[in-house]
């Protein structure tokens, strides 16, 4: 009786999860999706808790309470910190899968090969491999994004890196194979921890060669791994709910990773094993090209006289927390009847959709946030393209320079606008370390300084100083 009821409850929960993702197809219904997800999770937790085999209730209460204590502050982080929070939550998901897998293995060791069938063992090993490597990999990613001191920001590469990683992975697979074949051998309980250590180490080594510009893809891939580790747990526990939820998460991560890769014109293997940062030492400081810089007063005058302005935000806007100032600028321009659109590159920022969330936070209507492919048709009509802390995503070298590491990457064609203003923190090249030709174009004027300060000055010019010039 209980079995039938619990199965029905799990089916309902699975259906709610699918609906939750379905409702994310438009911002209008998306919040309904969250409620569906909460309902599904609550049902599943309560029904599992009611299982007759569950007897230590206070332990569960304690762990859940602690989950709330940590989870609530984690949900209140500033939106600029959302990429690292996401990476951290992948780490949590990974460690949960890893620990449950570890517990299951030692628990079932006494039950012998009847329970630990080869299928279950393969699933179990997949669970702990994916779980633990997602754990350390995501921690490293979170550390890079948070710019924690002891985590190197630049890609760390050394000769034979891919060989070392491959060797490590091969040894883990080899041990996994022999333990899956002999799950209850006397040495097996001692080999199991070695696999765990290898998975933990592999997670770290996988992430250290990856640079900040590749983070959106890496976060998406880790998202996929976290989902797949839940699927593996579902195979071990014979839980179709876990398999369904994990598969949804896994396919979501996969689709996002594919979108990110396409937006950078790169392949998965290239992101994971290509070590982006090492390519550009050669032409870092070749010719002395000259920037032309402009004052906020001058830029404000040009903005005032335009009728169509495209703002291109990038990671620099997030770093400077400039989204609210951007909103004030948007208001000032709108007030003058100027059309203002935001051009969003899929990999702008440090995670998929990062810019949209920041601009939405600043109350900019999402109808003015335009995807790259749609805005590029209109770029030649734009009077002003205002680049706010974006760099590689507007670099025309992607179209023209075959030797550039970003050649072939689709870009927002800021260089086609009549006038280009680029706000930049310093004269150094961007995260990928590549010089940007856009800055040397004869129609480009640089506004050097912190994005928030510079836009603040533009707003001041537009709001008060318009009569003075």
């Amino acid at each position: 009786m209980f079995h039938a009821l619990s199965q029905i409850a799990y089916i309902v929960a699975s259906a709610l999860f699918i609906l939750a993702l379905h409702w994310m197809n438009t911002p209008a219904t998306a919040r309904k999706g969250v409620y569906a997800g909460v309902a599904g999770t609550t049902i599943a937790v309560l029904v599992t808790w009611a299982e007759p085999s569950v007897i230590h209730h206070w332990w569960i209460v304690g762990a859940i309470a602690l989950g709330f204590v940590v989870g609530i502050p984690l949900s209140q982080v500033p939106l600029t910190a959302v990429p690292q929070r996401t990476a951290l939550s992948h780490a949590f998901g990974g460690i949960a899968a890893g620990l449950v897998g570890t517990a299951e293995y030692y628990l079932r060791l006494g039950d012998g090969p009847e329970w630990l069938t080869p299928f279950r063992m393969i699933a179990l090993i997949a669970e702990i491999l994916l779980g633990y490597l997602t754990f350390t990999g995501s921690l490293m990613a979170a550390g890079k994004l948070q710019e924690v001191k002891w985590v190197p920001q630049r890609p760390v590469t050394y000769p034979g890196q891919n060989f070392v990683n491959g060797l490590l992975f091969a040894s883990a697979i080899f041990l996994a194979g022999i333990i899956a074949a002999n799950p209850t051998a006397s040495w097996a309980p001692y080999v199991f921890p070695i696999i765990i250590v290898l998975a933990l180490a592999f997670g770290v080594l996988l992430i250290i060669p990856i640079g900040g510009a590749d983070m959106p893809t890496v976060i998406a891939i880790l998202n996929s791994y976290a989902g797949l580790s839940a699927v593996a747990m579902g195979f071990v526990l014979d839980s179709k709910l876990l398999i369904t939820a994990g598969a949804l998460d896994g396919s979501s991560g996969l689709i996002l990773a594919i979108i990110m890769c396409k937006a950078m014109n790169r392949s998965f293997t290239n992101v994971l094993f290509g070590a982006f940062g090492q390519v550009q030492q050669a032409q870092a400081s070749g010719e002395q090209k000259q920037y032309k810089s402009e004052t906020p007063e001058g830029a404000a005058q040009v903005l005032e006289q335009s009728s169509f302005v495209v703002i291109i935000p990038g990671y620099g806007m997030a770093v400077a927390q400039a989204q609210h100032k951007v909103r004030e600028l948007y208001d000032q321009l709108k007030k003058r009847g100027i059309t203002v659109k935001f051009a969003i590159h899929p990999v702008a920022g440090r995670m998929p959709g990062h810019m949209n969330v920041l601009l939405a936070e600043a109350d900019i209507p999402y109808t003015d946030l335009v995807e790259m492919d749609d805005i590029n048709h209109d770029m030649p009509q734009a009077d002003v393209a205002l680049v706010v802390g974006a760099n590689d995503v507007v670099n025309p070298a992607a179209r023209t320079d075959k030797s550039s590491p970003i050649y072939g990457m689709p870009i927002i064609e800021a260089d086609k606008a009549r006038t280009i203003f680029a706000i930049k923190r310093s004269k150094n090249p961007g995260f990928a370390g590549i010089d940007n030709e856009l800055y040397f174009s004869d129609r480009t004027w640089m506004l050097f300084g912190d994005a928030k300060v510079v836009i603040g000055e533009l707003v001041k010019e537009l709001s008060g100083g318009s009569g003075m010039h």
Binding site: M24, L74, F92, L237, L248, S252, N356, D363, P365
Partner: protein, 98 residues
């Protein structure tokens, strides 16, 4: 017991197709909230953690379960809350605000 294996594989394959179909239609505007939402949903691994933590098992096993339960629960709570917080910010019209 091996008879039990295939239905789970079926579920996985079908669920992946549903996932690919549904996720592909998710608005690009919402990719960040999508990630936090799927994160919270996949933290349903909490059910595995509950069974391990609450069962009549040795102490060390239950401790592993309790840490997993805590980690999953933190993901569920923060995942759903931050998704909702982000989604509340997406508006079509700016005039109704300040």
């Amino acid at each position: 017991m091996t008879g039990d294996l295939w239905p789970t594989v079926w579920v996985f394959v079908l669920a992946s197709f549903i996932g690919l179909g549904v996720i592909r239609k998710v608005s690009r505007l919402l990719h960040t909230p999508l990630m936090s939402l799927t994160n919270a949903i996949s933290a349903i691994a909490v059910v595995g953690a509950i069974l391990v933590t609450g069962g009549d098992y040795p102490l060390t096993i239950r401790m592993l379960g309790a840490v997993a339960l805590f980690a999953s629960m933190a993901n569920i709570v923060s995942g759903f809350l931050i998704t909702d917080r982000m989604l509340r910010m997406f508006k079509t019209d700016s005039k109704e605000h300040r």
